[in-house]
């Protein structure tokens, strides 16, 4: 924390970030779905990359800047204050968990091919983990990957694959050893989304857009050498790294944005009855900030986030919901603050997904109980 607030270099970095955002932040509203959303997200990512603001902590050889988490935090703080486009968009998976997974577990060739494309706004990634029968019980997944020569033939179905309809690549979990049960015999593979045999069906959510998708695989042929990340049949371990990023550090920008939003509510609150509630939210936001920053610094030191990320994921998810509920109360259901694709009403409905995506709040609680607190493991 001292490093973030006190360092002269960081002060200059902050000013530079603020100036750049002021001059370059898009002025038009981000589309929430479809091809327009893809163009918008890639254009904005490209602009950040060309300005030197993408992949601040990613290795320099893959297009990043090899800076510390402190600079990353400063950038996210200024990003949130500038009202720049939400990072919860189609670039989220690539930047926040597929990319970091490749850095941690990918081959040099995989890193060299994919990481620069993610950073420079050339490729969108989606996730293919959940299946209709395998949600919280992810290890029961049934999508098959059969090895045939130097190819992997994929058959099956995934669901809740956000932005799969506009994605270029997917981080896909398949069962490559049919004789193994549960966690064994799974592989984490890179699946190009333009291959023959892939069908994508968007699903509309209650928050409005059709960003969730169902993906069907009918004899999809992947080149084995390029596809597998972290070793054949070792995909559960790779997936745990992905989920570690997803639950740990992926939401850092969103957490910082939420803290900013609480300040907006505090500023707008003229209701004496609501004031104590907003004050509670501010206290929680301050706690979230301290936990997030300390966790991000520790995760950077160790290379991969530990199970403590579930604490932050859960705290953030539940605070998101309470903040948007308070906004609905504060502004009123018919207010302009709630209207539109990016109003509080959207945030309120979208907040429901925060305690489901990346492992439900119940799964996070199990992880905290068993892996952080060291409690005995319960029966599944």
């Amino acid at each position: 924390m001292r490093e973030v607030n006190g360092d002269r270099w960081l002060d200059l970095f902050r000013i530079e970030a603020r100036d750049w955002l002021r001059a370059n932040k898009p002025n038009h509203i981000a589309p929430l779905e479809g091809p327009e959303s893809r163009h918008y997200v890639l254009d904005w990512q490209r602009r950040q990359y060309e300005g030197g603001w993408a992949g601040l902590t990613w290795p320099r050889e893959y297009g990043g800047r090899s800076l510390s988490v402190a600079e990353q935090i400063v950038w996210f703080e200024e990003y949130a204050r500038a009202g720049a486009p939400s990072t919860h968009n189609a670039s989220f998976v690539g930047l926040n968990h597929a990319g970091p997974t490749l850095i941690a577990c990918g081959t040099d060739e995989q890193k060299a091919f994919h990481l620069p494309k993610i950073l420079s706004g050339e490729a969108i990634w989606c996730q293919g983990f959940s299946e209709p029968g395998s949600g919280s019980d992810l290890a029961s997944l049934r999508t098959k990957g059969r090895i045939e020569g130097d190819e992997l033939i994929v058959d099956g179905q995934k669901i809740w694959s956000s932005y799969a309809d506009i994605a270029d690549f997917q981080e896909l979990l398949v069962r490559t050893d049919p004789d193994s049960k549960r966690h064994a015999g799974i592989s984490w593979v890179i699946c190009p989304m333009n291959l023959p045999g892939i069908t994508v069906r968007p699903i509309r959510t209650m928050a409005g857009p059709s960003k969730f998708c169902e993906v069907f695989y009918d004899h999809v042929r992947l080149p084995l050498k390029d596809a597998v990340v972290g070793g054949l049949n070792n995909g559960w371990k790779t997936a745990m790294a992905t989920l570690g990023f997803e639950r740990g550090t992926a939401s850092l920008a969103l957490q910082i944005k939420l803290i900013e939003q609480v300040d907006v509510l505090a500023r707008d609150c003229g209701d004496a009855m609501l004031a104590p509630r907003i004050a509670d939210l501010r206290a929680d936001a301050a706690a979230l900030k301290a936990m997030s920053y300390s966790f991000a610094l520790a995760a950077a030191a160790s290379g991969t986030p530990g199970p403590e990320g579930s604490l932050i994921r859960l705290f953030f998810a539940e605070l998101s919901r309470r903040v948007s509920e308070a906004a609905v109360d504060l502004y009123g259901i018919g207010s302009s603050e709630l209207a539109g694709d990016h109003g509080w009403a959207y945030d309120y409905l979208e907040a429901y997904s925060e305690t489901i995506a990346g492992g439900t709040a119940e799964i996070q609680r199990n992880i905290i109980g068993e892996r952080v607190l060291g409690l005995p493991r319960g029966k599944a």
């Binding site: 959940s130 029968g133 949600g135 919280s136 019980d137 029961s140 669901i159 809740w160 699903i203 509309r204 959510t205 209650m206 928050a207 409005g208 969730f212 209701d271 009855m273 609501l274 509630r277 919901r321 509920e325 609905v328 109360d329 009123g332 259901i333 018919g334 209207a339 009403a345 959207y346 309120y348 409905l349 429901y352 997904s353 305690t355 489901i356 995506a357 439900t360 709040a361 119940e362 609680r365 599944a380």
Partner: protein, 307 residues
């Protein structure tokens, strides 16, 4: 104390159920957030169920029972206001369907696209506006009620119903809000109970996990609390009971709806799963009449003013 429905009340609800069973009620199709139950509305208008509160032998309790039952439907229909607030006024002077607003006649209001009357709490007067549909512009909303806004007031027939009409209007509005919430909660809960009994993860039904059982048990308490407070408010028709019932309902809605969605996972967040038929409406009621903090303030003022 008598918590059993009497013969008349049972007969009214039985008649209502029979009427509804005779209608082809189509829930929203995939991708739709809102279906206005025009056929239900039409039948209600002609059948007299919404006028029960005007009958000498009946009271707001029967009106609230009807509002609660109609809120359980998978389609939206303007019934609570007509059944509970409508009887305050002569039917030929304040025609249904009703839309309600607070502060200004030009704010977005539920059911305004269907309404023939708009009742506006101006703070120091209750204003009645005869609605010309040509003057209503629809307001996009994610909350499954049809919302609309008057483009301008000029040229519309308006009249003051007087400052004295405000207290009963607010009282009945709160009663309607609580009764409608109770019906919505019931159907939403039924949907989720069915889901957690049939959806399996880790080799067993979701509903067998204690973490889920405990929170659904709490939700069941909330649902019953909302229902009984709404019924008490309808029985006494008192300002403070109505404010307490509305406070309880609006306070309860966020956690109640959140838990129900949570236990349906990502599927519950889509428009392909029926839960949104009821929870969208609950979320809209959450902010009505200033939200729970305004209700709590009113409950406090109305309950302890003379203490």
């Amino acid at each position: 104390m008598d918590f059993e429905l009497n013969e008349d009340q049972i007969a009214i609800l039985h008649g209502l159920d029979q009427m509804l069973a005779g209608l082809q009620i189509e829930p929203p199709r995939h991708g739709e957030t809102l279906v206005y139950g025009a056929a239900v509305d039409s039948e209600l208008a002609s059948s007299g169920f919404l006028d029960v509160g005007r009958e000498q032998n009946f009271s707001t309790l029967e009106s609230a029972l009807i509002a609660e039952r109609l809120a359980r439907l998978p389609v939206t229909v303007e019934a609570s206001s007509s059944a509970i607030i409508g009887p305050l006024f002569p039917p030929d002077e304040v025609e249904r369907p009703l839309a309600l607003a607070q502060g200004s006649p030009l704010v977005p209001a539920r059911f305004l696209p269907q309404a023939r009357s708009l009742l506006v709490d101006l703070g120091d007067d209750l204003l009645h506006v005869s609605v010309d549909p040509a003057r209503v512009e629809p307001v996009d909303s994610l909350f499954a009620y049809p919302y609309g806004r008057l483009t301008r007031l000029e040229g519309l027939m308006t009249r003051s119903l007087g400052r004295g009409a405000l207290a009963p209007f607010r009282r009945r509005w709160r009663m309607a809000l609580a009764a409608e919430s109770a019906g919505l909660m019931r159907s939403a809960m039924d949907t989720v109970l069915e889901h957690v009994k049939t959806r399996h993860q880790f080799g067993r039904p979701l509903g067998s996990f204690q973490a889920i059982q405990h929170r659904l048990a709490m939700g069941s308490g909330t649902m019953n609390g909302t229902y009984w407070l709404a019924m008490r408010a309808a029985w006494t028709d008192s300002d403070s009971d109505c404010a307490v019932a509305a406070t309880y309902a609006q306070d309860a809605i966020p956690t109640f709806t959140y838990d129900l969605h949570q236990f349906c996972g990502a599927m519950g967040l889509t428009l392909e799963f029926p839960l949104h038929y009821w929870t969208y409406r609950l979320k809209a009621l959450l902010g009505e009449l200033g939200g729970s903090s305004a209700q709590a303030r009113a409950a406090s003022a109305l309950t302890w003013t003379r203490a």
